[in-house]
């Protein structure tokens, strides 16, 4: 990696200088915080450490298997932490604690929904995915089907999810960094983009994995300190949640309404649909599914979900404590007050956890948690970028356009080009969506993942009578119906486009779009009497044997 040797020190210096300069630059806007020195130092330490890891990983990333799957040598425990690092986004850290701060109990309903998909992934998908696939979930859904159309469908659905998720992450990153570090929005977005391009192009999956592991460790550590510190102070040193809840109810404008479910879930159909999207959407996120190829075998894949579920569940309990701690420790304290912002605190509800860090541990803890929040964004964005780049290079380039006639080096080169292009696209989208309302993106991302990616994946593993035609009909219908229903639904049609009453009354369309997808697969397959369909039925036997026993599955690489 000659190129790396020359560019590494330069880039590091430029970044350090750039962030210092940018931080001291335009400070005119109200939302921006003053220069946060401890945060910037801790952030630079994190960046230096992760770039060091990237350098180490780059020397170990030679084959396609290294690049996409870290050589298959990650252990179940490590992968569990990396999955947690990939999944616990800044949105869930800041968003859920902010939601609890604002509405109390309702925040817990979201956490629960985001967690319960994990056991399902373990019981039905994780081991099967590992036994059948190589680098991407598209390997599994094209296993016994016609390669070109199935890969195109799977890669398109993957890219749609990745890009939607990226927009949310980049806009969140820009705004968060603006508030935390006093950096200009555009600089913040560019720094994120440049860093993830470096992690992914040079260090591939190995660097991405370790960035996610470190971030998960830091986030769990920081959140533990804030949550239990807040519980300590909010309960007058008794550590009694009951005491904290009493004080929260006294001080919160909604009084004891915060102790039970509120307006978040009112319509039963909306509730069921939201549940479907959160639960099965998780099982259709390409950057999460990709993580299962980094472990050596199905046993490790299963173990990784066990650890991931434990860490993520623990983390959600912490966010709940943080939300209530924030109600007690921030409300009515003038140093955190900002009457103009949502929730009446500086930076609005989403900054509840950050302000709480200051209340619990002063400027040092604030600096630490700011750096962790930034690290969180980097970890999630690099996972997404790698998943997107793999869909482009492994699925579209190598298998669709070149029909498998490319060598490994060409494929790796293409995936690096794709990474750079995606990184630049992420920066541009981040800038373009700065002033947009991106609240609908979560609904859309999880609905698409649950309605397109998840049905074709589940059915290709379990439904022996599925044919290429059925999968294409169901998959495309799921993708198109989920997207269309979100657009004509309340969030986009009414709130963003302001076209009056929405044509489709529900925010989360998964109960319709998932049904459409599964019915499409089933009916399309049943009515398919082509010769091709007969071959596909026959091929299920061998696929199922490999899926069940792991005989013939991709092994870990030799080094």
């Amino acid at each position: 990696m000659r190129l790396w040797k020359y560019t590494f020190p330069t880039i590091l210096l430029t970044l350090a200088a750039g962030s210092a300069l940018a931080a001291g630059g335009d400070m005119g806007q109200v939302e921006k915080q003053a220069l946060n020195i401890p945060a910037i130092i801790m952030f630079l330490v994190f960046v230096a450490a992760t770039l060091g890891i990237t350098y180490w990983a780059a020397q170990r990333t030679k084959t396609a298997k290294d690049f996409y799957a870290a050589g298959g040598g990650i252990t179940g425990f490590q992968n569990g932490l990396a999955i947690a690092g990939d999944y616990m986004s800044a949105a869930s850290f800041l968003g859920i604690s902010g939601l609890v701060f604002l509405n109390g109990y309702d925040g817990l309903i979201f956490s629960v929904g985001w967690l319960v998909g994990w056991p399902i992934i373990m019981f039905l998908i994780a081991e099967q995915l590992r036994n059948l696939g190589k680098y991407t979930y598209a390997d599994v859904v094209s296993y016994r089907f016609e390669r070109v159309p199935m890969r195109s469908l799977a890669a398109t659905a993957a890219l749609v999810v990745v890009v939607l998720y990226l927009i949310g992450q980049m806009v969140g990153a820009g705004k968060l960094i603006q508030v935390l570090f006093g950096l200009d929005y555009v600089y913040a977005v560019i720094i994120v983009g440049v860093l993830i391009i470096m992690y992914v192009t040079f260090g591939g999956m190995l660097a991405t994995t370790w960035v996610q592991i470190i971030k998960a460790g830091l986030l769990l550590f920081g959140a533990t300190i804030i949550a239990f510190g807040a519980l300590y102070f909010a309960s007058d040193g008794t550590m009694s949640p009951e005491r904290m809840f009493q004080k929260a109810v006294e001080i919160h404008p909604k009084k004891d309404a915060i102790m039970g479910p509120g307006a978040l879930v009112s319509d039963p159909i909306e509730a069921i649909s939201l549940g479907l999207a959160l639960m099965f959407g998780t099982a259709g996120l390409p950057h999460i599914l990709m993580r299962f190829f980094t472990v050596g075998n199905a046993i490790e894949a299963r173990k990784s979900v066990f650890y991931a579920t434990g860490w993520i569940g623990y983390f959600y309990i912490l966010t709940f404590l943080m939300g209530f701690g924030a109600i007690v420790l921030l409300t009515g304290h003038p140093e955190f007050a900002d009457p103009a912002a949502i929730g009446g605190i500086k930076g609005g509800q989403n900054m509840a956890a950050v302000n709480l860090a200051t209340a619990v541990g002063g400027n040092l803890l604030l600096g630490f948690i700011s750096a962790v929040a930034f690290a969180t964004i980097l970890a999630v964005v690099s996972g997404l970028t790698l998943a997107g780049a793999s869909a482009i290079s492994h699925d579209l380039y190598a298998n669709v356009f070149a029909h498998g006639n490319v060598n490994e080096q060409q494929e790796i080169r293409m995936s690096k080009i794709a990474t750079v292009v995606l990184g630049i696209i992420a920066i541009l989208l981040g800038i373009a969506f700065e002033k947009q309302n991106i609240a609908y993106l979560v609904a859309l991302t999880f609905s698409v993942a649950a309605s397109a990616n998840f049905p074709i994946l589940l059915m290709s593993i379990y439904y022996g009578k599925m044919t290429t035609r059925g999968a294409l009909i169901g998959g495309w219908l799921g993708l198109i119906s989920a997207t269309t229903l979100v657009i004509i639904g309340p969030t986009v049609w009414k709130e963003i486009l302001q076209l009056g009453d929405p044509i489709f009354p529900y925010k989360y369309p998964a109960f319709i779009s998932m049904t459409v997808a599964f019915l499409g697969i089933w009916i399309g397959s049943m009515l398919d009497t082509s010769e091709r369909a007969k071959l596909e039925h026959a091929a299920f036997e061998a696929q199922d044997v490999r899926c069940q026993t792991g005989i013939g599955a991709e092994g870990a690489s030799s080094h």
Partner: protein
């Protein structure tokens, strides 16, 4: 995979034991998770006051809080139960099948 190997495995009674035991267990566990989760969500949707009931007379803590935390913990416990059974039963059967046919 070669066709004769596929047939050798498929005609092995242990393979059938593995497939039927695992799929029965995996689907039951998935349905159990769905039932737990949807029971929670439907109570949230239909009977909010139930979850807002104080845990004991005079308490601020409501029933909803331990229930919500229990759903989170149940997700983790279910994955633990699955691991336990997979490590003892499914992995042993898989190993035996491999020893017999390979």
């Amino acid at each position: 995979m070669q066709q004769d190997l596929v047939h050798a495995i498929k005609s092995n009674p242990k393979y059938h034991e593995l497939v039927s035991k695992r799929s029965k267990f995996a689907w039951s566990m998935s349905i159990l998770m769905l039932v737990i989760y949807y029971a929670f969500i439907l109570v949230v949707a239909y009977d909010k006051p139930l979850l807002a009931t104080p845990l004991w007379a005079g308490a601020t803590m409501t029933i909803g809080i331990p229930v919500g935390v229990a759903v989170i913990v149940s997700a983790f416990v279910l994955t633990g139960i699955y691991i336990q059974r997979a490590n003892s039963v499914f992995d042993r059967l898989t190993r035996e099948i491999k020893e017999e046919v390979l």
